[in-house]
Amino acid sequence: MDNTILKAKNITKTYPNGVKALDDISFEIKKGEFIVVIGPSGSGKSTLLRSLNKLIDLTSGSVTIDGEEILNKKGKNLRLLRRKMAMIFQHYNLVYRLSVMQNVLHGRLGYMTNINGVFGNYSEEDKLKAIELLNEIELGDHIYNRAGDLSGGQKQRVGIARAIMQDPQIILCDEPIASLDPSSSKIIMDIIFNMAKKRGITCIVNLHQIDVAIKYATRIIGLSKGKIVFNDVAENLDNKTIETIYNTSIDNLMINGALKTM
């Protein structure tokens, strides 16, 4: 039985100013994987992630989610398909004036009728689920606080809860820990990893930190100048590949933790 949850084929993105952010990229992702995408700024990481749920329109290529092509979808069909892919952002992308509870419940909007969503008519079942989730990630004391009043780490936890509420098959994480301190970073990565594992959700995460990538990833994809230069399990990531990805000697890179040298 085909276990592929996401298939990207020959995707290319050329910006109007001529910059080729993604150059004929293809890859497959199987259900349950924890993929980490690494690469320098400008390598196309963010463009790649955002093109998977059509936040960015691709110049050419195809992206299939659970067998369904997403790039030609519009309006209602697009929204229905987007439900399957939750997203966590570097800057959290919450509605700061609303409560934590309201922000988490936003994850259900894709499943509600237009009117119910507009007036925030969430079912009691959904509300209970939200509270359970918030307790699980230790935000139970903050459910009625304004989202804007929380710390960075707490805001990201709200973002994760919102993503989980969507009952997604895939979670896309665009540099989820880039704005967080080392302690919050570990908490967030652990939460994402464990929640995904528990619920059988596939994850695709953009990261700057190679050591974090190696620690959590089942597979690492290395991007450089819009092309894939590495697509293998974390153990096989060696210094030479890293140098290719970042286009500089390993001495010029700030990497923590031990790496396998070849």
Binding site: R79, N93, L94, Y96, R97, H106, L109, N114, G117, V118
Partner: protein
């Protein structure tokens, strides 16, 4: 002896640009003064005429029929508040389509923005003239003039608020699969409500003054009353009315200023 140059603190090129700009402005000013034969010092030179008029004709201010005047003030205030309200409702709706991040028709948003920017530069007085010439004078027409000018201003202000405040949160709602209305009511409105209310109060303040002026050219209210007293040379009563108008405007300014502070404080 060593000549020490003073160290510059801005880019040399910028400094040159500023100097040239200053010279051009000066030349334009002198040229304009000469060509229009308007001497800006004339006001100062002939100020004793102005003072004579003020002391002899305007003062002391009197009010012989206060009742009619308070009716007129009431009309003016109502004009200001109601026009701001109506304009505000239209502006919020239009702004949703005018902001390129949230608009379901991003291409149209540029047009809406452009039109709003163009329209908002037309003062309410000009709108009043246009409408009075075509539709005749009256409170209703004055009301429409105020609505149009306020609407243009508010649309532009709201669009800027929306763009500034809700770009991130809108993206968050986009990926959960929310519809346009859901994104608006669950994202934009909560995020921008404070700004909207603040702009709304600001426009009421502006419109009290605009309403007086529009009133003068035919919109009714206290502006028209003032105008008719001036035209019939009843300067002392006119002075009294001017004082009342000033008091009203100051009162509204203080009230809206206080409310705006309260709204912004409620973080």
């Amino acid at each position: 002896m060593l000549k020490i140059n003073k160290i510059s603190i801005i880019n040399q090129r910028e400094k040159k640009l500023f100097t040239y700009f200053g010279i051009v402005v000066l030349v334009l000013f002198v040229g304009a003064t000469y060509l229009t034969k308007f001497n800006p010092l004339e006001v100062l030179l002939n100020s004793n005429e102005v003072w004579k008029f003020i002391i002899k004709d305007f003062l002391p201010p009197t009010l012989t029929k206060p009742v009619g005047i308070f009716d007129a003030i009431f009309i003016t205030i109502c004009l200001a508040i109601s026009s701001t309200f109506i304009a505000g409702i239209f502006a919020i709706i239009t702004a949703m389509f005018g902001s390129e991040y949230i608009s379901p028709f991003p291409k149209v948003s540029k047009i809406i923005r452009g039109v709003a920017t163009f329209l908002r530069n037309i003062p309410p007085l000009v709108w009043a003239f246009i409408l009075f010439s075509s539709l005749g004078i009256g409170t209703g027409v004055g009301f429409v003039a105020l609505v149009i000018s306020t609407f243009a201003f508010m649309t532009r202000a709201f669009i800027e608020s929306i763009d500034e405040v809700s770009k991130d949160s809108t993206e968050g709602l986009l990926v959960v699969g929310a519809t346009f209305s859901q994104r608006v009511f669950q994202g934009i409105i909560p995020s921008c409500m404070q700004d909207f209310i603040s702009w709304f109060l600001y426009c009421i303040e502006v419109n009290i003054r605009a309403s007086t002026i529009v009133g003068m050219v035919g919109g009714g209210g206290i502006g028209l009353v003032l105008f008719s007293y001036l035209k019939s040379f009843k300067y002392q009563t006119a002075a009294g009315i001017i004082l009342i108008i000033s008091a009203t405007i100051i009162g509204v300014d203080l009230l809206t200023g206080f409310l705006r502070k309260k709204v912004m404080e409620n973080e």
